[in-house]
């Protein structure tokens, strides 16, 4: 029996450690643990509710827009204006959010995940004329390969030439993700941490030059996604087909839906969205989302046992060193079960709901690659869903931007209530994200967020059931315990966002004691 400790898991957002117990070459038990706590809910208490949008987005610098979106929806609902947001503002919010989807998905595949599959050192033997690749060759020739080496060794499968081409795409993707942020900044002012999304709408007005400037950046990104990103995911799939077989996880999928197509339905759970909300338990039919079925368990988290509670009534009393606990993350569950969230979950839900655009893009890809739909639930399936989603979102952004009406309003006036409750739900690039707020005496009394990586990377719940990432790792064959590629490839396929996952703690009293370890 061997214990593998990988801490830090790099190339993710935030601080994560993984421990795996390996017996006869197979992972018997896996535990995932976050290693940073900042206390967002603690310092939001007593603050101006309107500030939540700007500051909750600072939970995560990779997907701030997801928090900004959940937060404005949350405040709109608390302020009683969720059905009154002008169409221009709804669309601009989608344009901002969608641009960051593209940025996040491209960044994830190329700059976070690809180094597990692409051998950068192959560039040392480059003999072509491309000035960029030649400069990378010079870099490699100087002998200092940081930050790309050290790394796990022994399972790079592409031939030299393909590796070199993919190194070129890694660099091209740096420009593509930057371009996505530029598109975003046209409507969001700046990025990371946009500044235009406010309860009531947005602060920026549509103009013809902004529309054209945005459209043509998105069109460049559509080209990149179609001619580079999707083919590269297929190339990885063809060389690493065994990754269609591992990392399956719990097989339950949850989506809150994302990209409002209609601003008039005040109920976000049933609002018409590009990717719909829904619940798809393993082997069952898809059902409608019922947010009252969400609970959080703290049995194996460093919090006092308070039972399984709905997040709106959530209690979070730190208990460092609690026996049997091993994470600062809670365990969100839907109807008592662990659910995977993220691009794969959204696509599984949308496919089950027969969303035509999703059905077509998935069926076309599966037949082109020559695999069955059952293979989607895997490490490679997650990468594929992410890439196809990037295309779907980019194509729609190019459409939506032309629906803006120059000269029409972007903001609706409201009176901030002294006491109110709100809920804002959406899907971040990494999965389902919910914000809940209670306002009292005109300030934030309680702010709760249940974030994607808490769903995916949660510890065991009150019934002892592991979280989706833990389930995905357990049972996996490890070829080389010194280079446990399998584990990091599985973990990264979920695109974890740990700064996100560990903030949701409402501390009462002082926190003392043990180190937060994986």
């Amino acid at each position: 029996m061997a214990k593998i400790v990988i801490d830090p898991i790099t190339r993710i957002e935030g601080h994560l450690g993984i421990e795996a117990i390996v017996e006869n070459g197979v992972v018997k038990e896996a535990k995932s643990s976050g290693t940073l706590w900042r206390g967002f809910e603690v310092f939001l208490k007593g603050k101006d509710p309107r500030d939540a949008t700007l500051f909750t987005q600072r939970i995560c610098g990779v997907c701030p827009i997801a928090h900004a979106t959940a937060s404005v929806l949350n405040l709109d609902s608390a302020f009683g204006i969720s059905a009154k947001i002008p169409d221009n503002a709804r669309i601009i919010r989608n344009l901002i959010f969608g641009s960051n989807y593209l940025q996040s998905h491209i960044l994830h595949f190329y700059h976070l995940a690809a180094l597990d599959y692409v051998d950068v050192t192959a560039i040392a033997d480059y003999d072509g004329d491309d000035p960029i690749l030649k400069s990378v060759k010079d870099f490699a020739g100087r002998g200092e390969l940081g930050p790309f080496v050290p790394r796990y060794e022994g399972d790079y499968r592409f031939d030299k030439k393909t590796n070199q081409i993919l190194v070129g795409h890694y660099i091209q993707a740096l420009s593509a993700r930057k371009l996505a942020h530029e598109a975003l900044a046209i409507w969001g002012g700046k990025m990371p941490h946009q500044c235009t999304m406010v309860s009531g709408g947005v602060t920026i007005t549509p103009t013809a030059d902004r529309i054209a400037s945005y459209l043509w950046r998105i069109n460049q990104l559509r080209d990149f996604i179609e001619s580079v990103y999707i083919p590269d995911v297929i190339a990885v799939a063809s060389k690493y087909p065994d990754y269609f077989e591992i990392g399956k996880g719990c097989g339950n999928f949850l989506s809150y839906g994302v990209f409002d197509l209609d601003g008039k339905n005040p109920d976000y759970a049933s609002r018409q969205r590009l990717l719909p909300s829904g619940v798809l338990p393993k082997g069952k039919e898809v059902t409608a989302l019922d947010t009252s079925k969400i609970t959080e368990s703290v049995t194996h988290s460093w919090f006092e046992n308070t039972g399984d509670l709905h997040p709106a009534n959530g209690k979070t009393i730190p208990a460092p060193g609690k026996s049997g606990a091993y994470s600062w993350m809670k365990s969100p569950r839907y109807a008592g079960e662990a659910f995977e969230v993220g691009p794969l979950a959204r696509f599984m839900v949308a496919y089950s709901r027969s969303v035509p655009e999703v059905k077509k893009i998935v069926d076309d890809t599966l037949s082109a690659v020559g695999i069955g739909a059952d293979k989607l639930v895997s490490v490679l399936g997650r990468h594929a869903a992410r890439a196809l989603e990037a295309k779907l979102v980019a194509d729609n952004l190019a459409k939506w931007v032309l629906e803006l009406k120059v000269g029409e309003p972007v903001f609706v006036k409201y009176n901030m209530p002294v006491e109110a409750n709100g809920m804002g739900i959406t899907d971040a690039p990494r999965g389902s994200l919910g914000h809940w707020v209670t306002i009292k005496n005109g300030v934030i009394e309680n702010y709760q967020a249940v974030v994607p990586t808490t769903w995916n990377a949660s510890p065991r719940d009150s019934n002892g059931k592991p979280g989706p990432i833990e389930q995905a790792i357990e049972g996996t064959k490890i070829k080389d315990e010194n280079n446990p590629y399998e584990i990091v490839r599985i973990v990264r396929s979920f695109d974890p966002c740990l700064a996100c996952a560990i903030h949701v703690i409402d501390a009462k009293g002082n926190i003392k004691g043990k180190a937060i370890i994986g």
């Binding site: 400790v5 830090p8 740096l174 409507w187 700046k190 500044c195 700064a499 180190a515």
Partner: protein
């Protein structure tokens, strides 16, 4: 261009209590691009050898933790330490651990102590690393603070250059690195009282704001989307020193005030303590206490 005499400048980039937004912002660098920064000689003959960066490096686990300690040993006083995220000194540093090696889990502050003491210089990047930032907002549950304050408490004397911003503009970072490579460490001639390079943080946003004529004419926007100065909507431009109005963001495309949003004052040591509520107007008294810098 291969230059046989390339000098490698080792850089370690560590993350405390932050959101990764500073790293993501630097990825948006326009000239030089992030590829230029990582791969090419940033200044002829000088290459930034980024040996540790949690978000982009190839390795993980023990192999990368050991890279930090090897660099500290091998390049004592010869490497630059970039710190992103605030320093949480509460609970003996247990709010943030950053890796395990040989069965030991390292609190962030332990790595900062070691890597900070032996660095040639520290760049505190972003408002968390410079002044504590968002994690230090009242009641500051993790005792978060900036690197300078932490070093003062610990008696660590390594020079610290503050490059604030939530996030910092990529030019502010690359410009500071370029200053170190071309002219050496910025000193008191180049920095303001808050340790920021005057080149970027020398002027009030209000001084160069394109909406300034509205302010002078008393024409104020009363709600988002309206023409006029954003002062009544809470703009912190009059109390914020940064070159955003002229530099603009994301390859010079836009910026907060240009997008109709009030400046949130994100580069100030007071952020977010005295710059909030975001949408509440700055008092006259505070307004008058911020002067044009003459240094």
């Amino acid at each position: 261009m291969t230059n046989k005499k390339t000098t490698e400048i080792p850089v370690l980039w560590i993350q405390g209590a932050g959101c990764n937004g500073c790293s993501v912002s630097i990825l948006n660098s326009e000239s030089p691009t992030i590829k230029n920064i990582l791969v090419d000689e940033l200044i002829p003959g000088k290459h930034i050898n980024l040996r540790f960066h949690p978000t982009i490096m190839g390795g993980q686990g023990e192999q990368v933790v050991s890279t930090i300690f090897e660099t500290v040993k091998k390049h004592k006083n010869g490497y630059v330490l970039v710190v992103e995220g605030s320093v949480q000194s509460g609970a003996n540093g247990s709010f943030c651990t950053m890796g395990a090696m040989s069965g030991k889990h390292y609190p962030f502050i332990e790595v900062l102590n070691e890597a900070g003491k032996n660095a040639m210089a520290v760049i505190a990047l972003g408002s968390c690393a410079t002044y504590g930032g968002l994690p230090s907002w009242s009641p500051n549950p993790t005792e978060a603070k900036g690197v300078r304050e932490y070093f003062n408490e610990k008696g660590i004397h390594t020079p610290v250059v503050n490059v604030p911003g939530c996030p910092p503009h990529p030019d502010w970072f690359t410009g500071t690195i370029a200053h170190i490579l071309i002219a050496g460490l910025p000193d008191s001639r180049h920095l303001d009282d808050a340790g920021r390079p005057l080149a970027f943080f020398g002027k009030l946003i209000h001084e160069n704001c394109p909406k300034r004529p509205y302010f002078d004419a008393g024409q104020f926007a009363s709600q988002p989307g309206e023409e006029g100065c954003l002062y009544e909507l809470g703009c912190k431009g009059p109390i914020t020193y940064a070159d955003c109005p002229t530099r603009m963001w994301n390859s010079g495309l836009n910026w907060c005030i240009g997008a109709g949003a009030p400046c949130a004052g994100c580069v100030e040591p007071d952020f977010p303590h005295l710059t909030t509520p975001v949408y509440k107007k700055v008092t006259m008294e505070r307004l008058e206490s911020f002067k044009i810098k003459t240094k």
